[in-house]
Structure formats: structure tokens, C-alpha cells
């Protein structure tokens, strides 16, 4: 990487922030999605629902909760929204299968959801909103993970997310159902034998990494808001969230339509582990790219991407059976490094803009730089644009007079 001046780093930070902005889903898409899954939650908890005694609650998890969600490459592709359906306890006689089927049955009791429901998944029920909609804003599918928590879970969660320190999160684990967990799946009613998962513990870990350099106040705000059933849309993201969005976009472009592409949970985990609290996106991105591989360990000759909240779980467990996935991951890392280097080493603004095109796509590159330019124009129109004696436009130097129009052909 060439040595950049502070000013150049600042400018790259601004450009990459714009890239992140343009990768965010829109506020409308966000609000429609929240509205839809809340409606599902209300339906499941209706008085006459078999689940009503267990106060079912739908909460976002995964990238929707972590703030690392990105738009799909093609406007016609679906957004994936990962949700949990929490039940506070269960009937003493219910097996995993009963829990799964009761959630499924309650969904099917509603004609709308019945029509949207995909084939039963291994752990989830999936609602395919896309199929029923020509409206781009409602093109998403929702993966709903049924799970059991204890009575006090919501309170425990609140307590964890009202302090910024990271501590042992094992008490945030939830019990899930898994069709492949036979014979337990259809016979065992004792929860302590059911598989655990810990999406909220993971989120707590992730936020502790992303907010390293944030002020205490904004840390707590971001934390508390992330576990609200109706989270607020925010286009203000931390540098780590932006870095992960940028990496995921690069992955999407490089592996368009390839099922063996590097998966988001691996990218997110390795990036968060490698991140050292850099405030500037370009510095953070470069360091994360250089550091991600060092976060992969080996156990008994097997490559291991450890789940930070469950050391027993290897996010890269598929690599052993499908070596192509591992190869793709390593190829991706070296490609993303090359592509980011080409951008940083661009000899002028025109070359730098061109260097965005291959790794991130033509349309988004155009949008990024047009919105970057538009900001300068708006700044001038509101008398806030300044120029240094060298010509550099920004917040230093003399104010640029507002009222003039570029004229001519």
C-alpha cells in the first residue's frame, strides 16, 4: 500500500463511506420488512393460537440485526432476512418436531402466510414474499428460526445490551430444532438435550468489536436499539460495519451465482476479529484484509473459523467436505487485497473511480461518485464549501461564493 497523506486517507474514507451508504437497503425496504415480520409475530401470538401461552416473539438476527446487510446485486434479487421466533418455554410433552410443526401450522392457518410458505427447511420456516409481489420494495424472504428461551430471557437480553462491556454470553443461548438431529428431533422432550444456538450472544460479541472506539453514549444507544423488536432505521454505521458491507459486496460480485462463495458469517467473524478499532474505513479495510487469514486456526489438521461464542462450532465446517469452498475463500482474500491496492494506488481521481468498477460494479460506482459530487455541490449552495490555497475543496480555507452557474454546452 502506498503511503497516503492524512488528507488522502480522509478522502478515501469519505468515498468508502459513500460506497457503504449505497449498499445499505433503503429506509422504505427496512420499514416494510420490520412491519411484515411484526405482523407475523402478532399472528403467531393471537389469543386462539396454540403458541399463545408461550408469548411468541419475532426478532431479527444475523446481518439485519448486525447492521451489515447489503442490497443484492440485481435489483430483482431477494433480500434475506434472518429472524428468530422465540417461545417462552413449551408444553412439557413437545419434542423439537412438535415445536417446529406447531409454528408451521400456525403460519399455515393464515391463508396469506400459507401461500408464502416455502418447503420446510432444516431449522427454519421460510416466507417467500417475493413470489407474491412485483413491487421491488417487498422482494425479500424471511427465514424464521423457531426456538425456546426461558421466562426471563428478554430481561437477561436487555441487561446484556445495556452495558457496553463484553462478558460471558452463554446464558443468552437459545434452544433450536434441527431435523437432522434424529432420533432426538422426534422423541426427546427434555430441552437440555436440544441443540443450542446463540445469535444474540454473537451480536453482543460483534458489537463489542465494532464499537471499540465509539463514545460510551453511542455504544449504549447502538446496543440497546439493536435488540428492539422494532429497530430504528439508521444510515449511520460504524467503520467495521462498513468494512463488512464492502467485503460482502466484493464477494457478491466475484462469485455471482456461485453456491460455493465465501459465506457471510465467516467474513463477518474474521473481519471483526481482525479489526483493531480503526476509525478510518480505508485503514481499517486494509488492516482487516491483511489480518483475516491469521484469524483462521487449525484443529487436528482441519481449518477452523471459531464461533466466538461457541468454541466448539467451526463456521468453516463445510470446507472439509467441499474443498472448493476453502479454495474460493483464499482466492477471494487475495483478490480483494489486489483490488483494494489498485484503488489506493490509483494515480488520479479518474483512475481511482475506474478502479471501483470491477470489484464493486459499474452502477454502484457511478452512484457512489455522483453522490460524492452532489455533496460538494450542496455544500457550496449552502455557503459551506471552502477552498485551500492549493485548490483543495472541503472544510478548510476560504468560503466558495455560492451564486454562480457553470455555463455553456
Amino acid at each position: 500500500m502506498r503511503n497516503l497523506t492524512i488528507e488522502q486517507k480522509k478522502q478515501f474514507n469519505e468515498i468508502f463511506e459513500k460506497l457503504g451508504n449505497n449498499l445499505d437497503i433503503t429506509e422504505t425496504q427496512f420499514n416494510i420488512a420490520v412491519h411484515s415480520y411484526n405482523a407475523v409475530g402478532e399472528w403467531l401470538s393471537k389469543d386462539d393460537s396454540i403458541l399463545a401461552p408461550y408469548s411468541p416473539k419475532i426478532l431479527p438476527q444475523g446481518s439485519f440485526m448486525l447492521g451489515t446487510m447489503i442490497k443484492p446485486i440485481n435489483k430483482n434479487d431477494d433480500l434475506d432476512i434472518d429472524l428468530v421466533c422465540q417461545l417462552k418455554g413449551k408444553d412439557i410433552g413437545w419434542t423439537q418436531k412438535d415445536v417446529k410443526n406447531n409454528v408451521g401450522q400456525q403460519l399455515k392457518n393464515n391463508q396469506t402466510y400459507k401461500d408464502l410458505l416455502d418447503e420446510e427447511g432444516r431449522r427454519c420456516w421460510t416466507l417467500l414474499y417475493r413470489e407474491k409481489s412485483n413491487d421491488i420494495k417487498t422482494q425479500y424472504h424471511m427465514d424464521i428460526l423457531p426456538c425456546i428461551v426461558d421466562e426471563k430471557y428478554q430481561l437477561t437480553l436487555k441487561n446484556y445490551f445495556s452495558i457496553s462491556e463484553y462478558s460471558d454470553v452463554s446464558s443468552l443461548a437459545i434452544r433450536i430444532t434441527d431435523k437432522k438431529d434424529e432420533p432426538c428431533y422426534s422423541t426427546v422432550t427434555d430441552l437440555s438435550y436440544w441443540k443450542k444456538s446463540n445469535p444474540f450472544g454473537y451480536a453482543k460479541w460483534f458489537f463489542s468489536k465494532t464499537l471499540i472506539n465509539a463514545t460510551e453514549k453511542s455504544k449504549l444507544f447502538a446496543l440497546r436499539d439493536s435488540i428492539e423488536p422494532v429497530p430504528k432505521y439508521s444510515n449511520r454505521k460504524s467503520p467495521l460495519q462498513r468494512i463488512i458491507q464492502i467485503l460482502k459486496r466484493h464477494r457478491d460480485i466475484m462469485f455471482l451465482g456461485n453456491k460455493d462463495k465465501p459465506i457471510s458469517i465467516i467474513i463477518t467473524t474474521l473481519a471483526a476479529k481482525a479489526y483493531k478499532g480503526e476509525i478510518n474505513i480505508i485503514e481499517g479495510l486494509s488492516n482487516v484484509i491483511d489480518g483475516m487469514l491469521f484469524q483462521i486456526t487449525e484443529k487436528n489438521g482441519v481449518k477452523w473459523v471459531e464461533n466466538p461464542v461457541n468454541p466448539e462450532e467451526n463456521f468453516a465446517d463445510k470446507w472439509a467436505e467441499k474443498p472448493q469452498k476453502q479454495t474460493n475463500f483464499y482466492n477471494w482474500i487475495s483478490q480483494v487485497k489486489k483490488d483494494v491496492d489498485i484503488i489506493i494506488n490509483g494515480i488520479n481521481m479518474i483512475e481511482i473511480q475506474r478502479a471501483f468498477e470491477k470489484p464493486f460494479g459499474k452502477n454502484i460506482s457511478t452512484e457512489v461518485f455522483c453522490s460524492y459530487a452532489d455533496k460538494i455541490k450542496k455544500c457550496r449552495e449552502s455557503n459551506k464549501l471552502k477552498m485551500e490555497t492549493t485548490g483543495i475543496l472541503g472544510s478548510l480555507g476560504k468560503t466558495v461564493r455560492a451564486n454562480h452557474n457553470f455555463y455553456g454546452k
Binding site: N348, A373, K377, M387, G391, L393, K398, F406
Partner: protein, 144 residues
Amino acid sequence: MVNKKVISLSIQAGILRNCYPNSSLIWMKHNKFIWKYKLQPTALSINYQIKLVYNGYKPDVFIEYPKPLQLANDCTTLEHVYNTKTQKICLYYGKANEWNSTMLIANTIIPWTSEWLFHYEIWAYTGKWNGGGIHIKEDGNIKQ
């Protein structure tokens, strides 16, 4: 209303030299000067050599280096110029009196040139001019 005073050529030239160290000034007779300077609109941009010619009425600005400036894909001319070949650029709308000789070139024309360069760079890649302004259509009419 008090009429603002016309600023003399020598004051314009003196202030340009003062505000922009390392610029060069050549007097062409007593009523015309050429002023040259290097401008860099952003930290990631190259230095552009600009030439300003002033006769007391209307400052003309040319981009001297690089020449030719790169054009956006599928474009044969630059945007907001009087002439693509000479790279004489348009910075203000004369009819609206956006600039007149009571104004300091150093505080108007020069920052506007840097702004033009900024929007030129984005245009050269995106093919879109984001700097606003007024376009003259083929029939001579104006569209905003």
C-alpha cells in the same frame, strides 16, 4: 444603494499573487494580464495548470495541463466549456451578472475553477455533470 467600485487590474493581479503563492503573472500591455497557477481540487487529484487572461471586463480561464483532458465515455466534447479544443471553461452565467469587475477574481473565479475541475473529474468517469449550471441547447435556448 451604493454602487460597488470597479476593481482595477493591478489590484486584481496583486491580490491573486498574494492569495496564491507560487503563481506567475505576466502583463501584456497595461490593460491585460495573464496569470498561471496549479490547482488540485482534491487530495487524490493531479495538479492542473490553469491560465487566466484578464482585460478588465471578462476573465477567461483555460486548462493548460493536461491537454487534452480525458473525455467521458461516448462524449466528444467537454461539459461547460466554450471550446473543447482550447479548454476554455465556463464558470458563470454572464447575463445574470454572476460575475462583474467589482468582484475579486481570487475569491470567485479561482475557487469556481477548482470546483469545475472537481466536477470534471467525476464527469470524466460517470458521464454525469453533478455541479449544476446552465446548458445551452443546440437552438441557443437555455435549459437548467
